[in-house]
């Protein structure tokens, strides 16, 4: 019975608030351009509108086109269930090696999205899919290396165990490792959620779009699921970033409802910091051309690899 409550809490926190993060980032961007911008809750209105609209499906497309939004959204939700929002709340899904499951589940969703992009046979879909394949294959090694570095140091591959170790005030991550992994994960988030140096989320310019090109053929309910899934995936990655690298839960000594609320408050503040950081990066950088993305990916990989090397150099002692 208790577990049901925790699952509901986890779902509410990540899945309900996911579109809000997009709204916050858009609002900060708008304010930086001296515009008023759309309200913070705009994405909820958009999703509401899209869910009521008629869904148009191309006659030439196969079942993959209709299945892809469902697969994409459900993989994003599964991944969201694997990343704990707080150490005070016991995890609904804990298994050893669950960050590998998380990365592979997200890869499955992305695979179906790429297939759907190819399925309709439009030129943009195919182009977007091939670009997405390039970016994801470049960025995936750095996700694995940075998460494995943390797993080696904390001595566990289970995300909730990692969070528990990291949040314990006696067993912190070494400062240099956490700075490097933080920067690496920030670059990974930017690449994974199609943000500016890699892809521009707010444009439909043919030459540059990646994520938008794949979901160009979608409409109505399907489009809503795709957009929502992307938002959930983004909040999942941000949760991973802030909970591993900005641990604050160790400061809460009490238990019970008040502690859970306090930890969720901390969590909200941390996510807000990350959202502001991402917005600042978006404001201050220009979109890279496609062939410069390998340079960024190389840098992300090096950041995580040097973090791994620091662990190695420091003598490989467990925390």
């Amino acid at each position: 019975m208790n577990y049901l409550i925790y699952i509901v809490l986890q779902i509410i926190v990540i899945i309900v608030f996911a579109p809000l993060i997009n709204g916050v980032i858009r609002k900060i961007k708008a304010l930086s351009q001296k515009r008023k911008g759309a309200p913070v809750f705009q994405m909820y209105f958009d999703l509401h509108k899209l869910f009521r609209k008629t869904t148009v499906v191309s006659e030439t497309s196969s079942w993959i086109f209709k299945a892809a939004p469902l697969v994409f959204f459900s993989t994003a939700v599964t991944a969201a269930l694997l990343v704990p929002v707080s150490t005070i709340i016991p995890q609904p899904l804990t298994l050893p090696g669950d960050f590998i499951v998380m990365v592979s589940v997200l890869a499955l969703g992305r695979f179906f999205m790429m297939l759907a992009g190819l399925d309709t046979g439009s030129t943009f879909g195919g182009m977007g899919s091939s670009r997405e394949a390039l970016i994801s294959s470049l960025i995936e090694p750095s996700i694995m290396v940075s998460l494995f570095t943390i797993a080696l140091i904390t001595g566990s591959t289970s995300l909730s165990k990692i969070l528990f170790v990291v949040n314990n005030s006696e067993t912190r991550l070494p400062l240099q490792v956490s700075i490097l992994v933080f920067l690496a994960l920030l670059l990974i988030i930017i690449a994974e959620t199609a943000r500016i140096p890699v892809d521009d989320p707010s444009t439909h310019l043919e030459l540059t779009m990646v994520h938008e090109a794949m979901i160009l053929e979608y409409s109505g309910r399907h489009l809503a699921l795709m957009e929502y899934g992307a938002a959930v995936k983004q909040l999942t990655f941000i949760t991973l970033l802030v909970n591993i690298l900005l641990p604050l839960d160790g400061m809460i000594s009490r238990a019970g409802i008040a502690a859970i609320l306090l930890s969720l408050l901390f969590y909200a503040a941390k996510v807000l910091i990350a959202a502001v950081l991402i917005a600042l990066i978006e404001i201050n950088s220009v979109k890279l051309k496609l062939f410069s993305i390998p340079n960024l990916a190389a840098l992300a990989f090096i950041l995580s690899f040097v973090a791994f090397l620091q662990y190695f150099v420091l003598g490989g002692n467990h925390v």
Binding site: P174, Q176, L180, P294, N295, A298, L303, V306, L309, V313
Partner: protein, 218 residues
């Protein structure tokens, strides 16, 4: 305390990687500025420690000198040189950037293994600061030989100098003051001469591609 220096040495190593992954001259100068600022910060922290513990002020003077010379003066000089010449972006590399970055990474591994092989330096466990800072020197050398334009090579030279300086500072906790001064004056002269030379090369050959100098050979 050594945790802070470990972190600073890692950040300095990171700026070396960022320098390697860049190809715009403006970004070179900016990254070099950040690298020098980090070195000045480490010198400052060491300097505060030296004042409190031993009453020595020389490291603080070194810190101020780094800020004046490497954070303000030399980048400004490079900006001036760069404004006078044609190109903005490095276009032809000997190898492409991802491979260069991975090679720099293997240099870090190489440094680690060569330091662990020379047993006399490390008493029980290798100093991560030493590995990081010597790697900066190595990456600077790689940077120098893979950039074809003179201004990239100047940045590479300065990076090598930064690497040697920070290695010496971390391993000795502050060199004799006279040595520091000697290094600064050497570097300043070298950069000024190089700046003038880049100008001259540009005027004479209408390009600062050093490959073209090879045509002068008979």
């Amino acid at each position: 305390m050594s945790d802070i220096f470990d972190t600073l040495s890692v950040l300095i190593l990171m700026t070396a990687f960022v320098l390697m992954a860049n190809k715009k001259v403006k970004a070179y100068i900016k990254t070099f500025r950040v690298q020098s600022a980090l070195i000045a910060l480490s010198a400052g922290i060491l300097g505060v420690g030296a004042i409190v513990d031993e009453g020595r002020y020389d490291l603080m003077v070194v810190c101020v000198l780094i800020v004046i010379l490497k954070v303000i003066y030399i980048p400004g000089l490079l900006h001036k040189t760069y404004a006078g010449i044609e190109y903005r972006t490095e276009k032809d590399f000997i190898l492409n950037i991802p491979i260069l970055v991975l090679m720099s990474c293997s240099l870090v591994v190489f440094t680690y293994f060569s330091l662990s092989a020379s047993g006399s330096i490390n008493e029980g466990g290798i100093d991560p600061q030493l590995v990081n800072t010597i790697s900066v020197t190595m990456i600077g050398l790689l940077f120098m030989i893979t950039r074809k334009k003179a201004i990239g090579q100047i940045i590479g030279f300065l990076e090598v100098e930064n690497g040697i300086f920070i290695t010496a500072m971390f391993s000795t906790q502050g060199m004799p003051f006279i040595v520091d001064m000697g290094i600064f004056i050497d570097m300043l002269t070298a950069v000024m001469i190089m700046g003038v030379l880049v100008f001259k090369i540009n005027i004479t050959f209408e390009s600062i591609n050093t490959d073209r100098l090879n045509k002068l050979k008979g």
